[in-house]
Every structure is written in structure tokens, then in C-alpha cells.
Symmetry: D2
Subunit: 385 residues, 4 copies
């Protein structure tokens, strides 16, 4: 099977996300890095692209140039990853979708709900793939949680408890550091800081694992460092489409935690607990039995988990492989389209434009509720109400 | 030093709490079990009392008889523990306080805020000791957390994250078992179930450790098992008297958890985490340093911690010793009164009538907010506003 | 049931072991502290005994006086605990056994194998109870491990892996501190330091849990701090009476460990792991299934575990309760003798003189093998060969 | 910088190690998969090679053909990985080294000590790079342990405690499964089974981290499943070149463990503990201070650790990245040779032919000692004595 052609916008020299995408897309040899517009400075981007192996004519100066160049080619890229600053995601994603490309967009997909609805409609109309990079959903045992819930191992889901709390922005003396400050400045970050940055991953995970959408929510947002306009800590209660209750805590001032993405799911017949910092174990307690440790890679897991594991049991797998699983799914989706066949359902798990839209609606709902003393608000995008 | 004389109401044959109090009071040899009215069936109580070592004339048939009998004696009991069904705590505590006895009352101290205020006034007027048994505050490292906060190791406290979530009432098929059902029946349990039963311990802990009182709160209460009138899961956001933000989750349907009492405290200069199930370690991260493991019994802890530890480092200490520390404090308080001296401040940590009252106000506030879509309500007892 | 009468030799003011024994014996109200010779200075011992509640005529000046005094009484003590310096254990235990008393001796029971054999014979001849305080065997889940092995849950036992490794004697600058130094001085400590002090507990545990005796062993003993004559670290391989292989590591220079008593048992059908520092969980993996967490206090454990648990599931139990379980067993054994009935088998688990003797034989075997490059030596006492 | 050219022998369709090497070599884009002889069936190997992207003329039928083909080319491969069955490692490695290629050989490098010495001499004489794949040494925090020891954070090393114990061969009913059986058959596996397969990794780690070589050892080898000729469990005591004492346990019958590679290092000034199953945390206790948690990716770690980390703190990194670090080191070594400059010392950490030789000497020493009741034997290869 020839490798698919892959391009990236953003992710230039010194960025963290660029190498992560190159690693994720290249890991299984499914994609070949073929084109890019890697830097907002055209010359620097072209030069860096060539240096890391792009053909000179496909190391573009900006995304417009890349869109034009790739559109003309017979061997155009099969997938474009958008890893630029947040405010530009919408227009780039829109541009490429309209021109017939498949897109994987970094989160947030857009800056408003309206833009999100536009992307969803565009993806639906064009039939092009539009994915959003909620990469934590790529972990093998996260996918197994979803499969367990789907096949009824937990019975009806009663409650989801999600956390994404770290302490990396807890230092008041560092709050004016530009690297940190922009996140809490509404002019640059939008209506939400910590929830939009981290909490939204946990919320996506809650939906991903339960198969239920968030319908309404109530938020308590605070700025523990008082110079911040946007929240550095939030507690969100929510209700899901099949009746599950949700509770989500996110923080950037929780000194002593390094990451803290954790999901607990409680149903009528059992409970689950998983944490990103030790992602190779999943704790499962069937009702009235004992807590069990499910190991990544053990025999007889779900097809979804098996497909997303590469290393034998007992060896640690980490975030880069989770990330790569998003690309593996996309390769399957792209190939299925090319081959006019249906997608392997165990691979159809990559987050989609609809997820990006729902996340944006949740961000605005949290911001609104947070300002209005925790009033319950509809968290669904208008087009899904 | 002769042993103090101790009596108990309730805690009869087959109860769990009776042996726990006998163990706790007797552990250090500070109290002698001298009198009791142990059962609501007078003969059974008298017989059981004698069987477990009470002098025949001090094995009483009911609390009125005991109050009368002890009041007449020169060698009357120094402390009365009230371990009867919840609805009777108020009148018994009131009766003994009025008659000049010191009382340790099981939680909840009362069933209403008004009753709670009456007990507080009575304790203040009589000068008698009135304690409430929030026993988890007796753990050595919990006391060390309090000392660390008090001496400024964490700087100003920003956020407290408390949990008390277990799964022991998650079985819908067992929900009508009378042993479980009464807790969720407002006729027997009052206005709150899981919060009043477990959550309140976590809330007390938040105040105990930070030295701040809860001022206002917003609650999301749900009954995951639909036949229940009262909540089996609640999330409470709160604000404290010196500006700390609070988040508290309590549940009885969290399958996979056995107990789940956990406290995290985040300040400007550091973070702490402690969990009851492994109470001999305390996790401390000073800002911009590494996570450290504080061991119970290590050198150079606070006097409060040292006083509350009995076993050398590396050996497990458990709940019975925490419980006993409440009695140890009470022995010191009683002796200080007898000797007309001030109490050792490191021992003046037992929960007091004021704590019992504040808890009751919080229970009613949670119930009110829970019914009114999470509206923020004043959580202070009227007498403390 | 009236309380049994209990006396103690040693354990005077400022000792750690004295309060531990008083706590352990008093915890369940089964024993009453009635007599004692608590200090090697007669007057200090008498004074301290009275101060902590002994009747003046039973606060003795030394053990000879106590032996004489108690022997004459009709209401003599039912059990004598020997908590004096190691070198005196033999003669005191022997004296009291000969005079018809039951004895609980601190470990080591004797300083030589020959003395150990003499005690065993004396206990057999007199029929008096002679127990040795390997207190870790009192933990509820340790007893459950034993029950699981006995009923075949693990199949035939293949391997036992035991550790007792801490770092409290790792500081070379503190090695000459008399509090530490005597342990490594053969004149005071005998033929072994760390193995005799800590390793022997782990070895006892291996036998206790598997029901197999140690038959032969090979030891690698080293002094990591070179000024020490006796070992501060040892690795012992051994073979047991029903074919199990054993591996035991003990150390006092393992910086970063606080205690480290851990037992792993591997059989044909499953594996177990338990550690003293978190004694309320036991990890069990049945062959070809998943790792399970057995919780102290869960339903349907063995009678041996149930009898040794006092606190409900989810609450921490610690060392003092394990210690108390030895006394609870002894109370049952003493009563059974008085009542001329057989002992409850679930309570007949206290370590006996035979265990004390076997431990002593193992200590000498380790010392011999350690000096002779790890040669395999018979670890059984001559009388059991 | 153009990518280096990489080839592989073995690792054909369905193997585990093939994809792992392709992933590891490709992860950073430093190597391009250019040539291969992937299967012992020439046609299958050629076909598979082409299918996964090799140029048709460099998809060889066997290693002789590949050696001949590549030798003729100007653009020959820069590195050859040998991932064939163990018995063939020696001749292939020898062949390629002699012909001027750099080689990364899977472990074991050879089947005898003599062969190992021949490879070492050949690497020295030719100046070609000969690496051996002890991949666990590639973990970022393992390299940090080495750096900490080297810079004296632990003082002089007293003791190393290593383990590699799992339970995957514990099922007696599965012992005759050919997939398992060959490992315990001396005709196929040589003189040692579990030690040679797993223990040797732990022993390499002990040397890698301490910078000391193993000089002598004593082993206790047992076959817990009696039909096995070779050991499934071994305990090895050893002595190292700068005086450190070593203890190593390896097992394949330890039901309940999934992998179990763990290293503890104790020095005069501190202790370290790391375990492969949770490789992103390293536990460090400085003498007389508290246990600290060092996080992979935290600020101010050693250059060796920084160079070997790719993902930000708090995110899990796993075995594939450790593996890739061996390739990253090799890329640097190869480039340094090409550019006639010295190698970055922080990258000169890949295991070398000398390590492969020392391992083989240790395997034979363990086998000899295991047969002779644990006699101490010299564990050094003759050429290093």
C-alpha cells in the first residue's frame, strides 16, 4: 500500500506541536510528509520545510500558496493538518475543505459557535473528512472504555467524573510572563482560558467514552490569580443526552499535579477509572465484585483497543502513540473513501467536526454560566438542538 | 494521673460505633469506661453493660436514668459520649450539658440549625465541653496539614478540593434493603442523605485544615437511583471566609471506590494531597519544586502531628488511632478545666459544638440549593452571620 | 466475661514497646493490666507502674520479685509479656513457664538455638502457652493470605518473595550513635544484625503464610558501612518443607524506604502481593485472569481474616490492631485452657515457641552461610531435623 | 540534514520486533528505511520489503545477498539492524562489520563468550559502530539516573537492586506450547532461559546506571515448572567494579506481574527507584530528607535526560520512544564519524559490543553458578580480566 501524502500548516521550527504531528503521522508509515507551510514568516517556513525533508516545490511560504499549489497537482496531499495559532484555524480549515482537501485541525476548531456550524455544514456538503485533534481519545484503553460502555459492561451510565487539573500556571510571579499571560487575556484567548484549553479535552472524553452528548451545564469559574480576567479554575456540572450526570474540574493552579486528565465512569453495573499519566492500566469494578486492573495489551480486549495498541503488555505506551492512532484512523477513513468502501468501525473513532463544534458550544456555555452565578444553560450548538 | 471516668449512651450490642468509642477512649488509658445506657431496651442495655465490665449500679436502663444517677454521684463521669440514633442527639446532649456534664456527640449533633444554635449557646453559657465526632480530623497528617497551612507553608489558600465518594449504595437491587433505604428517606434522614452522611466530613475537613469557615455554597444534588427521594450524589461549590474557593464531591454510587475521603489544598506557595485510605503519607509540592512525600512519624513535623502519632515511621496507623486522638484531646481539655489551666494548643483540635452547628447549616444550605438549581445560598448559621 | 489479668516485664517509661503492648492487650478489653516489673531500676519501675494504674502491691521492682509475688496469689496474672532487652528473654521466659505462667515473649525468644530448644521443651512439658511476638502476622490480610494458601486458591506454592528493607541506618555519620551502633556489634547483638532484627519477621511471614517451614538456606551478607562487623544488608535464598523456593532481602541502608515489609507468594494457580505500609489491600491475580484488589473488611473473606478485622471496609487499619490480634488469639487460647475446650482454629494463629526456635536456627544459619560464601546450610533446629 | 540510510535483517511480516525497529528508527526522521532482508524465505522477504516501501532492488532475499548488494553501492546503508533468530546474530553481525557497515544487533549479540570477544575485537579493529539493543536504557529517566550517579548525587554506590519478573510463563498447562517451550530447551536457548532473556536487561541496567561492571556473581536458578530444563526463576547476587553490591531477581512465573523491570540504587547520600511500567516518574530520596518525585520532562534535569525526552511533562512517554533514543544516539555517532568530529557525550549512551560481550559472560557465569550450588564465579569475559 503506497503511503498517503500529508501536509501541515504551522508547526514550524521550535514549536512543540509540529514534531508531535510529524511523529504521529509518520509512526506507522501510513503517511509521507509531502508538503507544508510551516511558519508565518514565508522564507523561514520554506527553508525549514526543505531542511526537514520537504520537496523544494512543496515547501510553501504560506497557506494560501500551499492551497493554490496543492490544488493544481495531480498528486495532491491526502490530508492537511492545521497547527497554526487558534484564531486562524477557521479560515484555513474552511479554505482547504472548500477546495476538496481532508483536514485535521488542532483544537479549538474555531473561535465561535457560528464558525463551528459553518465548518460542520461544509464537511457535510463536501463529504471531505474534517477531524479535530482531541488526541487523548487515541489511547488504547480510552477506546476500550468506550467499547465497554457501548457493549453494556457498565449498564446504563449514571455519572461521569472528569478532571484535567495541573499546576503549571500557579506561580503569581510568572503570571505576566507572555508565554502564560495570553491564555488568560480575552483579547487573545476568547471567552475562556483553562476550560477552553484543558477542560474541553476532559469534556470531549466524557462524550467519547459514554457516547452521550452534553446537553446543559452549570459552571463555577474563578481566577485564583487575581490579575487574570479569564478563569484559571472551573468546576462544571452537566447533563448528558442519555441521562448521565457529569462533573468536571479543571485547573491550572493545582500545584503538585503535572497533568491530571482523569476519567471516572459509573454505571448501574460497574465503575471505571483511567488517568492519562499512567495510561496503560484501567481500573474496573463490576458491581459487587472486586476492583480489577485491565492492562493495555491483555488478551481479549475490544477490537477498538487492539487496533490502537502497538507494544506488548507490560511495556509502557505513551501519548505519541495515542496521537498516532488519530492518524491511523484517518488513513483508514481516507483509504475507505478512495476505495469507495465503508470504514472499519473500530477505526472510525477520530474526533470529527461535530465534536469541534460541540466543544465550542460548551466553551461559550461555560463562559456564560460562569458569569451568571452558575445558571444552567443549554450547551448544545443551535444546529443540534 | 488517675483515669478519667467515661460513660456512653447508645452503642449497644452489635453496633459498630460502640466498640469504636470504647476502643478510642480506652486506647491510651486516659479514660475508664464507668457508666452507660447502651440500648433502647432498658434490660438489654443493663445486661450488656454489666457483661462488658460496667459496675452494676452504673449500667443504666436509659439516658434519663443515667443522667439522674450520675448527677447524684460525687465520682460522676467526666465525659458522656452520645452514640444513639441521630434524631435523639439533640435532647440527650442538651440534657447532659444542662446538668453540668461534658459531652462528645456523634454527628450530626442536631437535626436542625435552630437546635444546633441552642447547643452552642448552652455550651457557651455552661462552660461545659461539647464536642462533635468528626473523627477523621484526628489523623496525625490531617493535623499536620492544618499546622502547615497555619504557619504559612502554602501561602494564602486559593482552593480546596474535597471528596468523599464510595460505591456502597450503588446496587439498585439493594436499594430497598431497610439497612440502606432509610438513609434516602426524608422522614428518617432529614433534608439530605449522602451529603449529610459523608460529604459533611469532607466539608469539616476543608474548614479544619484551612482554618476558614464556609460562607456560601451552590449544590448540584442528584438521585442516581431513581426511587430515592434524597441525593446519592452531590457536587458542592463553596466560598470560605478568607477567600478560598471550595469544591466538594460526595457520592454513594461510585462503584470501585471503597471510601474516598480525600483532601487537596492549593495555596500560593504549594499544594497538599491526603487520602484517608492511605493516611500515613501526605503529598506536598512547594511551588516550583518537586512533589515530596511526608511520612507520618518523620522527624521535625509539627507538634500537632507529633502529639497525634503513636507508632514509629513506616508502620501503618489507621482510623482507630485517629478516633482515639479526639479522646486524647478531650482528656487534656477536661484536665485543663479541672486544673484551671489553659489547654495545650496542640491538643485543642477536637471538633466543637460550633462545628456541629456549621455542619448543620451547610446541610440545609445544600438541600436548599440542590432543590433550586444550584442557586448560591448563605451557608452560615444565623448566629454567625 | 471477666477480663483476663495481664502483666509485663520491661516496657518502662520512654520505651516504645511498652505502650504498644498495653495498647494491644487493652484494645478489646480482654486483658486488664494487673502487674508489672517495668524497669531495670526497681524503684523507677515500681513508681512508673503505680503511676500508670497498677495496684501498688503488684508494681514490682524486678522480675524475680514479680515471679515470687504472682506465684503466691490466687488471682495471679493469666499472661506475662516479656519486653526486656534481648539477652534476658530466655531466662525470664523460662522462669515464668516453669512456674506455671503463660508467656508472650518479644522476639528474639532466645539468643541461641539451644536455649530455644529448651523453651520449646518446657512449653511442651508444662502445657503452658508460650508465644513469640511476630506481630506483623496479626494483620487481617496476612491471615487471609494464609487462609487462601491453605484452602488451595493458589495451588501448590512455587516461590515466596519476601522483603524487609528500610534506610534508617544508612547514614554513615550516624553509625557510631549508640542508639544504632549496638545493633551491629556482635558483643551486644549476637551473630546477626539486620537479618536478626528485620529479616526474621519476613522469614516468619513466609512460613506463616505458606504453612511451610524453612529447611535450608544460602545467604549473602554485607556491611555497606564498613565500620560495622555485622551485616546491614542480606540476601537469603531458601527452600521450604513442601518444595517452595524462597528469596528474602533485608536491608537497613535502603534510603527511600521507610519500612518495606512485603510478601509475594506465587503458586501454580495464582499470585499474591501484600505490603505492610499499605496493609488494607491485598493484590491477587488468579492464573490467566486479571489482577484483583482484595480489601480488608470486604464480604466473604476467610474466618481468619474476619476475626482479625475491627473497622469497616475503606477505613485504614494499622499496626496496633495487628498487634492486638496476637493478644486476642492469646485470650482465646487462655480461656480455652481454663474451660478445657479446644481453641477456635481461626484464633490459633499466634506465633509459638516453635516459631521462636525456628527463627533462631535461621539466624545462625544465615550467619554461618554469610561467612562461608553462601554455602547452603540446614536451617532447621536440631530437634526438628 | 539528509536522512541516514537504514537497513534491517529479519523482522519480517508478523514479527513484533520488526515494526518496533522501523518505528524506532523512523520516529525522529533521522533514518530512512532503505534496504532489508526481512524473512528467512527469500521470496516472502522480498515481497514484504517492497510492500512496506523498500526500493525493489534493495528488498533482498537473504543477508548474504544484502551484504553483497549494499557493499557495491555508493549510497550504501549507514546502519544495519540485525533482528534475526538469536543463533544467527553472530555471523551476520560479523559479516557486516567486516564489510565496513555499522551494526545494531538485537540481544543476545552472540551465543558464546568467545564469539562475543571476536565481535568486540572486530569492532575495535574496524572502527565500525557495533551496538546491542538493550533498549530499556533509552528511557529518559534511566539516563537521568546514570547522570545523577555520575555527578555524585548519591555518593558512592553501595547497593543495586534489580528485578525483571513477570508471570507470562507460569501456566503449566501452556508449558509445552512451542511458543513458550523453546525458551526453556537448552538445544534452542543455550545455557540459560529467564536470566538470558530478561534478567540480562536488568543486569545491563545495573551497569549502565552505576557505571560499574559486574565482576563476580552467585546464582540460585530454579525451574518452578518441573518439565523445564532451564531456569524460569533466578536470584543473582553480584559484586561490581567499584565495590557496589548487586542483587537481581528475575522470574517468568510471578503471576500478577506484567513486566516488572525495576531498578533501585542506594548510595551513601541517597536512593533511587525506577520501574519500567511507570517510566515517567523517578523516586529519589536524599539522605535524611524526604522522598521526591522526579518527573520526566521537568526543568533542569541532566542533558542526558533532556536529549532523550520528546513530550512535555505530565504526558506519558513509553517504550517506543526509549527504543528510538538508541537510534538517535546511533545517528549522532554515525554522523560524528562522517564529519570526523567527536560524539556528543550526552548521546554516546547506546549499548555497545562490549556490553553484549559482558552480558554473554554473565549468562555463562549464572548458568555455571546455578548448577554448582551458588558458587561464586568470575563474571568477566576473559579479555577484560
Amino acid at each position: 500500500m503506497p503511503r498517503l501524502k500529508w501536509g501541515m500548516i504551522g508547526g514550524g521550527e521550535g514549536s512543540q506541536i509540529g514534531p508531535a504531528h510529524r511523529l504521529g503521522s509518520g509512526l506507522d508509515g501510513l503517511f509521507e510528509f509531502t508538503a507544508g507551510a510551516l511558519d508565518h514568516r514565508p522564507d523561514a517556513g520554506r527553508e525549514y520545510g526543505r531542511r526537514i525533508g520537504l520537496p523544494p516545490d512543496r515547501a510553501y511560504g504560506d497557506w494560501h500558496e500551499m492551497l493554490e499549489g496543492e490544488s493544481k497537482r495531480a498528486d495532491k496531499v491526502d490530508l492537511v493538518t492545521v497547527a497554526t495559532p487558534n484564531a486562524t484555524h477557521f479560515e484555513i480549515t474552511k479554505g482547504f475543505l472548500q477546495a476538496g482537501f481532508n483536514v485535521l485541525c488542532e483544537k479549538p476548531m474555531t473561535m465561535t459557535v457560528e464558525e463551528g456550524e459553518e465548518i460542520v455544514r461544509l464537511a457535510q456538503e463536501t463529504g471531505n473528512i474534517c477531524a479535530v485533534n482531541y488526541g487523548y481519545s487515541g489511547y488504547s484503553l480510552v477506546r476500550h472504555m468506550r467499547a465497554m460502555v457501548a457493549r453494556g459492561d457498565l449498564g446504563k451510565i449514571r455519572l461521569v467524573k472528569a478532571e484535567f487539573a495541573h499546576g503549571h500556571h500557579a506561580d503569581a510571579a510568572d503570571a505576566d510572563n507572555p508565554r502564560v499571560r495570553w491564555r488568560y487575556d480575552p483579547k487573545q484567548a476568547g471567552v475562556s482560558a483553562q476550560f477552553a484549553d484543558c477542560g474541553i479535552h476532559a469534556l470531549h472524553m466524557a462524550s467519547f467514552v459514554t457516547g452521550q452528548e452534553v446537553e446543559s451545564l452549570s459552571a463555577d469559574c474563578v481566577s485564583c490569580i487575581s490579575s487574570r480576567e479569564l478563569e484559571d479554575d472551573a468546576m462544571v456540572n452537566f447533563r448528558m443526552s442519555d441521562g448521565a450526570v457529569g462533573r468536571l474540574w479543571t485547573s491550572s493552579i493545582a500545584i503538585g499535579r503535572q497533568h491530571g486528565l482523569t476519567l471516572q465512569v459509573f454505571g448501574e453495573k460497574g465503575g471505571l477509572r483511567w488517568t492519562q499519566e499512567q495510561p496503560n492500566q484501567l481500573y474496573f469494578m463490576p458491581l459487587n465484585e472486586r476492583l480489577q486492573v485491565i492492562e493495555r495489551g491483555e488478551a481479549n480486549l475490544s477490537p477498538e483497543a487492539d487496533r490502537a495498541t502497538r507494544v506488548t503488555i507490560g511495556h509502557a505506551e505513551g501519548m505519541p502513540l495515542a496521537f498516532a492512532n488519530i492518524y491511523t484512523d484517518l488513513a483508514e477513513a481516507i483509504r475507505a473513501r478512495k476505495e469507495r468502501r465503508s470504514v472499519d468501525p473500530a477505526a472510525n473513532l477520530y474526533p470529527k467536526a461535530e465534536d469541534g463544534l460541540r466543544s465550542m458550544a460548551a466553551v461559550f456555555a461555560v463562559a456564560k454560566s460562569g458569569k451568571e452565578e452558575g445558571v444552567w444553560v443549554d450547551a448544545r450548538p443551535p444546529m443540534f438542538r
